[in-house]
């Protein structure tokens, strides 16, 4: 018998393409491949490859023109990091075939309209940039490009539109200028000056309430966290001062100048920016992340300054490479490291800065967090002699600036660093961070180290953590994650619930039925109740405590054991937690027994929500309760809260999807019935029955959706209400005591409030009216109201 073994090098998967038999498809694949791969590592020069490819495509135009047009439009949209390679190619084709050039430009305009209609604003930027670089390739006449830019900038004169709309049109124009500014100024300097002065006026009157919410650090030093349009404007200003001399961008078309300048140019058709639609989703503003400057790369090429246009172009291209290849980490790492022009810049520094910039981006990183961890590991593998040092340097800098780093970003830093260390045997020079040992443990630096050690323990085990840190760090080592059983030791025997806990424990071990166990639990006295009161149907905290502590103690061995216990005794647990008080208490007990194992608390809470033993609002109320106040600034608290909100959101989405599917099904049925008018009565009746059933189902689902949305709205109301109460209390207390409000606790709390808005902004948008009317009113302390106003400003 052949024993198939797992291949041990499952590093990238083998794609086994079945051989295609039909010729035209083969040729189309070949064309795609040729076009996509031009510019990659080759034994010949880029210029000769482009020349060769232009020849091949020209020959294929008679038969494959449309396919070639579509492929070229696609690479313009999807491979922006190779912009100038493809504009050169189009330039060469246009020089050989004027009509083709014209058709390509038309196709691009059509594609631009489509992408704008479909809210694909980031891709639309690449398309406009491509068109503007075609001016450099003599495909498009400069004056017509200037006219398009003028039309874009005129959007700033529109009234009653969201600021993010006019922002986008200004951004597009500015972001093309590194490529085409020189050429446009040479041909139309008067118009360009007018354009830039219009833009300047717009940028001056623009509202920037949203900026603080998006900044990774609150401090201006050492690097100001600039709003993206401000930064780009400064970069273009500097470029203009330098008379549009730009030396970084790779421009293959220069080598072909003699051929290209013979070509006839096309005029861009007049392009009116599409009007504002209410469902348009313009990109949210960004803040430019900077952690390095020219003083940080000790040897080798100097890093371009923060307001140099080179910096902009490099960062743009690196972001584009990640966007193209994020799913394939080896390819992504290789592409980043083979960035053209890498010998003139400290490439490793740029790469690390761009990656961290994405990881720490607010509201959310463009891709899943773990991708960045794995990408950095891949980069370290490919450049073992240089990249790890840059990474360590960046980590050190991030640590030094923890005091002013946004709390949500610190979370991501903690998760990244602990996961990264777990891939490198937890090797780190902890002594370098000994300064955190003399600080109050609530300060950001010791807090960060503590959380990193806790996360590192989850990926290993307690003794490992003890072994990897110097003994001086013992105060920051997490507790051993063991169960705390109040009925387990000497002192437990005198507790009121002790006898029943022994009985219950034996009952469970002897596989007693649920009824038998409930009967045993009836014996538990209720500390809340007066003697001789009713039969104890009301909430009995001691009953919950005894049963749950005993059960979880028996199941403490692993997650699976505990899940199994929750499943087996689901009926009893539901019975005990019928009331809101019951739900709150069960959470309290879970915390009490597992307070040294927050990971276990999180998975148990997750299970209990999914099996409806507790609801989301109960979890929120529990986390904000006085009992949990001392854990309020710990990472696990917020992981549980956000996980709870996500579950609520997914639940609503799931039912909405079911409703949509049922509605679609009904519509199809109704169409079918209308189309088959001459059927027998029998069939008609059964079809009508089916439709009736569907209509009933839709009604039920509609109710379910409404009820789920109501629960969701309530969850957010609970959370925001609790934040407002806590923050107001703190602010009032500080005011009356004439104490500075900015304690570590306050910074944490206010940023956690921000984080709720940012992480769930899509969902929260639906409930803005209620939030504004009920909670975020003008009477609120201005510190708290500012957070709400900044959030609203994100989609102004």
């Amino acid at each position: 018998m052949s024993r198939r073994r797992h291949s041990d090098e499952n590093d990238g998967g083998q794609a086994h393409k079945r051989r295609r038999t039909s010729e035209p498809i083969e040729i189309e694949d070949r064309l795609e491949s040729l076009i996509c791969r031009v510019g990659e590592k080759s034994t010949s020069s880029l210029e000769s490859n482009l020349e060769g490819l232009a020849g091949v495509l020209e020959a294929d135009l008679p038969n494959y023109k449309n396919k070639i047009l579509r492929i070229l439009c696609a690479v313009a949209r999807l491979l922006p990091e190779k912009l100038t390679v493809y504009t050169t190619l189009v330039g060469l084709l246009n020089a050989r075939n004027y009509n083709f050039g014209g058709e390509f430009v038309e196709a691009m305009i059509r594609q631009l309209k489509e992408t704008l209609k479909n809210n694909l604003y980031n891709e639309a930027v690449y398309l406009v940039r491509f068109l503007s670089d075609l001016v450099n390739c003599h495909v498009i006449a400069a004056p017509s490009m200037v006219v398009m830019f003028e039309n874009f900038v005129s959007v700033t004169q529109e009234e009653d539109v969201p600021q993010v709309r006019s922002d986008w049109f200004v951004y597009v124009v500015l972001s093309c200028l590194p490529w085409v500014g020189k050429e446009l100024y040479e041909k139309k300097d008067v118009e360009m000056d007018r354009l830039l002065s219009q833009i300047e006026g717009y940028l001056k009157r623009r509202v920037k309430t949203h900026v603080p919410m998006l900044q990774v650090w609150t401090a201006e030093k050492p690097h100001p966290q600039e709003e993206y349009l401000d930064c780009l404007w400064a970069q273009i200003q500097k470029l203009k001062k330098d008379r549009w001399q730009e030396r970084h961008i790779l421009r293959p078309y220069i080598a072909f100048d003699s051929v290209l300048c013979e070509a006839l140019q096309h005029n861009l058709p007049p392009f009116t920016p599409p009007g504002h639609m209410p469902d348009a989703l313009y990109p949210i503003p960004r803040v430019i992340f900077r952690v390095f400057d020219y003083t940080d790369a000790p040897e080798g090429p100097v890093m371009p300054g923060s307001h140099s246009v080179e910096r902009f172009v490099i960062e743009e291209n690196l972001h584009c490479i990640i966007k193209t290849h994020w799913k394939e980490r080896k390819t992504c790492a290789a592409q980043l490291l083979s960035y053209p022009g890498k010998n003139k810049i400290p490439l490793n520094y740029h790469i690390v800065e761009v990656i961290f910039g994405e990881l720490f981006q607010l509201p959310l990183p463009p891709h899943i967090d773990v991708m960045y961890t794995t990408l950095l590991i891949e980069l370290c593998k490919l450049q073992p002699g240089s990249l790890p040092q840059v990474l360590a340097q960046a980590t050190e800098m991030l640590y030094m600036r923890l005091d002013t780093m946004n709390t949500a970003c610190i979370d991501r830093f903690i998760n990244w660093f602990s996961h990264h260390l777990s891939n490198f045997q937890f090797r780190w020079s902890w002594d370098d961070w000994a300064d955190c040992l003399t600080m109050d443990l609530e300060k950001p630096k010791p807090k960060f180290v503590k959380e990193v050690l806790e996360k590192s323990m989850r990926l290993s085990y307690h003794q490992r953590i003890v072994d990897i840190v110097p003994p001086t760090f013992s105060a920051l080592i997490p507790a051993e994650p063991i169960f705390s059983f109040k009925y387990g030791d000497e002192s437990g025997t005198s507790l009121p619930g002790y006898p029943v806990s022994i009985t219950v424990s034996n009952a469970i071990k002897n596989r007693a039925s649920n009824e038998e166990i409930l009967a045993i639990l009836k014996e538990v006295p209720n500390p809340n109740q007066e003697d001789d009161d009713d039969e104890g149907e009301s909430f009995n905290p001691l009953k919950i405590d005894v049963f749950l502590q005993t059960l979880l103690h028996l199941a403490a061995k692993s997650f699976s054991h505990s899940f199994s216990a929750l499943g087996k005794f689901h009926e009893i647990l539901k019975n005990l937690t019928e009331s809101d008080d019951g739900k709150l208490h069960i959470l309290k007990v879970i915390y009490e027994v597992w307070r040294n194992h927050p990971q276990m608390i999180a998975v148990l809470v997750d299970k209990m929500i999914r099996t409806q033993i507790v609801d989301c609002a109960a979890v929120a109320n529990w986390l904000f309760s006085q009992d949990m106040a001392h854990e309020f600034t710990r990472l696990f608290t917020w992981e549980i809260l956000h996980s709870t909100i996500r579950k609520m959101n997914k639940h609503v989405q799931k039912i909405q999807k079911e409703l949509e599917e049922a509605k679609d099904k009904l519509e199809k049925q109704q169409h079918k019935r209308r189309d088959s008018g001459d059927d027998e009565d029998m069939e008609k009746n059964s079809e009508e029955d089916e439709e009736g059933q569907l209509e009933e189902q839709i009604e039920r689902l509609q109710e379910k959706v409404e009820s789920a949305q109501s629960e969701q709205k309530n969850l957010f109301l609970v959370i925001f209400q609790r934040f407002i109460m806590l923050l107001t209390e703190h602010l009032v207390r500080c005011e009356t005591g004439s104490v500075d409000i900015s304690t570590p606790w306050y910074k944490n709390c206010i940023e956690r409030l921000q984080q709720v808005f940012l992480m769930h902004h899509g969902t929260i948008q639906q409930y803005m009216g209620t939030l504004e009317n009920l909670l975020f009113t003008a009477e609120l302390d201005h510190h708290i109201l500012a957070v709400y106003q900044q959030f609203c400003a994100l989609q102004l």
């Binding site: 198939r4 579509r70 899940f563």
Partner: protein
């Protein structure tokens, strides 16, 4: 609009590998279909000491984990170096294939692969000695996986009487 370029939509880390479970009840076509829809991953090359908690922490970075089943030695009923991780959605499992496969857990490079779905009985090693097949025949010494391979262990114990 423009073409969807095959050359650019490569997602090779999530492709189905060559491995097929020989004990699968059904034909190759059915198995492949399940693999392409699955939310479950087989995870291999674990240390015998790697816990469910560690697996949960790592794989949760890709999404909510529905359940983890630790692979057991069929005779000893102790962990024998593999497990199954099931997610609620395929998208989360795909991220694990892209970003967890080939990285370290408990200091070992682990490997993930699509699994057709857990069925009772599949949590046991299929090697003659009760563990995984790969531990029957390997020649190297791996302290986290019981030391020498089972066959090599037997040879070692029969060798000793001959040495002075």
């Amino acid at each position: 609009m423009s073409a969807k370029l095959n050359a650019l939509t490569s997602d090779s880390y999530t492709e189905v590998s060559q491995y097929r479970d020989q004990h699968f009840k059904g034909n190759r076509y059915e198995q492949e279909k399940l693999l392409k829809q699955s939310n479950t991953l087989y995870v291999g090359n674990l240390s015998f000491y790697t816990t469910e908690e560690q697996v949960h922490e790592l794989f949760s970075k890709c999404g909510d984990v529905k359940r983890i089943i630790i692979g057991l030695d069929k005779i000893k009923k102790t962990a024998c170096g593999f497990c199954f991780v099931e997610y609620y959605t395929r998208g989360d499992a795909e991220n694990a294939m892209r970003f967890v496969n080939g990285t370290r857990l408990d200091d070992r490079i682990i490997r993930t692969d699509w699994d057709a779905g857990f069925k009772e009985g599949r949590q046991y090693g299929r090697g003659k000695s009760g563990g995984q097949v790969r531990d029957e025949y390997r020649q190297d010494y791996d302290p986290a996986r019981g030391g020498y391979g089972k066959l090599a262990q037997q040879h070692r114990s029969t060798e000793r009487p001959n040495s002075f």
